[in-house]
Amino acid sequence: MHVSEGILTGPVLAGGAVLAAAGVAIGLRRMSVEATPRTAMLAAVFFVASLIHVPLGPSNVHLILNGLAGLLLGWSVFPALAVALLLQAMLFQFGGLTVLGVNTLLMALPGLLVYLALGRAVRGARTSAAVFAAGCAAGALSVALAGVLLTLALALGGRGFLGVAGALLAAHVPVMVADGLVTGFCVLLLHKVRPSALDPAGAEAPP
C-alpha cells in the first residue's frame, strides 16, 4: 500500500507528514530506550515480510501485515513503520521521502487503531479459535482501513484519481484475505509460543 512520488498534492502531503510526525513523536515518547532494539528488529521483520508474495492468478499480492505490526508494537508502530518505509524508499524506491509521511500514516494508523480495538481481545482470548478470529479480524481490518485512507488521500488530491482509487481499493480485497489469514495464524503461533510478544505496552515501558 504505497503512494509513489509526485502523485498527491502539496496539502495532502503536508497534512500526512504532520500527522505521521505526531504519531512518531508520541510513539517515541512512550518507547523506553531499552525498547529501541525490539522496535528496530520488528521494523526489519515487517520490512522482510513485505517481500513475501502470495501468487494470485497470473499475478501476486504481497503481504502488508500492518495489523500484525500494530498488535506487536502498539504506539511504537509509528516509528517502526516510518523506519521500515524509509528503508524501503532507500532500497526499492517504492515511495520516497516526500510521501513518507502519508505512507507512514496509511500503514501505521490502521495498525494502531487495530491494536487499540483488538489488542486486548487477542491477548485475553481463552480458546485458539478466539485468538485466530481476533487475529484475522485485526489483519483484514487494518488493510481495509489503509485502503480507505489511501482512497481518501487520492480523493483529497482533487481531480482525476477516483477511477484509480476505486481500482486500487478493489485490488486490495485479495490482500485483505491474505493478510487477515496470515495474521490470524501468526497470532495463533505467537499466543502459544511467546504470549509476551503480543503485549507491546509491557515491552515499551522501562523494566
Binding site: P37, P55, G184
Partner: protein
C-alpha cells in the same frame, strides 16, 4: 539484498558532506512535489539527470529502479486521460489528463533521480548521523540504524526458512495451506528476532549503552559543500517561486 548498490565510487557527489546531500534532496523535493505545471518538474528532471551522471551511478541498478517506478506511472497513463476531473464532473478533455500524467511522470522520475544520486550514495551509518544532525530524535535514529543493521540478518534468516520449506516441496498458491504456512513463517521470524533484540540489548548494556548517540568521526563542511548547498538553495527558491506563482 543490500542498500549498498549506489555507495561505491568516489565521484564528486560521493565526496559531499552527507548532511548537505540529505538536506539538499529534502529541500529540492518540496517544490517538485508542490508544483502544478510542467516547467518545474522538467527542470528538476534535468537537475536529477545531471546529479545522477555527476555521481556516476551504476546504470543497470538505476534503470532497474526507474523501471519499477515507471511501471506504476504507466498504470496512471492508462487511467488518467479518461477519468473525470472530480466527483460528479463530466468527462474532461483528454489533453488535461495527458498533461497531468506527463507532469506526474516528470515529477516522479525527477525525485527518484535526485534521491538516488544524493541520498542512496550516503553510507547507512553516515545517513543515521546526518539525519540526527538535521534534527531527528536520537531514539528514531537508533531504530533506523538497528533496522539497517539487522534487515540483512533477518532477510538471511527468511531465506534459510524459505529454503527449508522448498526442500519440503512447499509451493506457494492462493490457498489456506499457503497462508497458514506464511503465518507460521512470519511468526517464527518474529520470535527469533525478539530473542535477537534481547541479546542485542544485553550486549549493548554491557558496553554502557545509555541511549545517547555517539560517533567516531565528525562531519566537516568544505568549500565545495557550501557552493553546492548554495546552488541547491537558489534552485529550490526559484522553483518554489515558480511553483507557487
Amino acid at each position: 539484498m543490500s542498500c549498498l548498490g549506489f555507495l561505491g565510487g568516489g565521484s564528486r557527489v560521493h565526496r559531499l558532506d552527507p548532511r548537505v546531500r540529505v538536506a539538499s534532496a529534502a529541500l529540492m523535493s518540496v517544490p517538485i512535489a508542490l508544483s502544478t505545471g510542467l516547467a518545474v518538474p522538467a527542470m528538476a528532471l534535468l537537475a536529477g539527470l545531471a546529479l545522477a551522471s555527476a555521481a556516476r551511478l551504476p546504470e543497470a541498478a538505476l534503470l532497474r529502479r526507474l523501471g519499477r517506478l515507471n511501471l506504476f506511472v504507466l498504470f496512471l497513463w492508462l487511467v488518467l486521460p479518461w477519468s473525470p476531473p472530480g466527483p460528479g464532473a463530466g468527462p474532461a478533455p483528454v489533453e488535461e489528463g495527458i498533461l497531468l500524467a506527463l507532469a506526474i511522470t516528470l515529477k516522479a522520475n525527477a525525485i527518484v533521480l535526485v534521491f538516488t544520486a544524493l541520498v542512496a550514495t550516503v553510507a547507512p551509518a553516515d545517513l543515521g548521523h546526518a539525519l540526527r544532525s538535521l534534527g531527528l530524535p536520537d531514539k528514531l535514529v537508533h531504530v533506523f540504524l538497528f533496522a539497517i543493521r539487522y534487515t540483512d540478518v533477518i532477510h538471511g534468516e527468511y531465506e534459510r526458512l524459505r529454503c527449508a520449506m522448498k526442500a519440503r516441496a512447499f509451493l506457494a498458491k492462493f490457498n489456506l495451506h499457503t497462508l497458514r504456512t506464511f503465518g507460521y513463517l512470519v511468526g517464527l521470524l518474529l520470535v527469533r528476532s525478539l530473542d535477537r533484540a534481547e541479546r542485542v540489548l544485553a550486549a549493548m548494556k554491557c558496553r554502557g549503552f545509555d541511549g545517547r548517540f555517539r560517533t567516531l568521526h565528525a562531519f566537516a563542511m568544505r568549500p565545495a559543500d557550501r557552493v553546492f548547498l548554495g546552488a541547491v538553495l537558489v534552485a529550490t527558491g526559484g522553483w518554489m517561486w515558480m511553483a507557487l506563482a
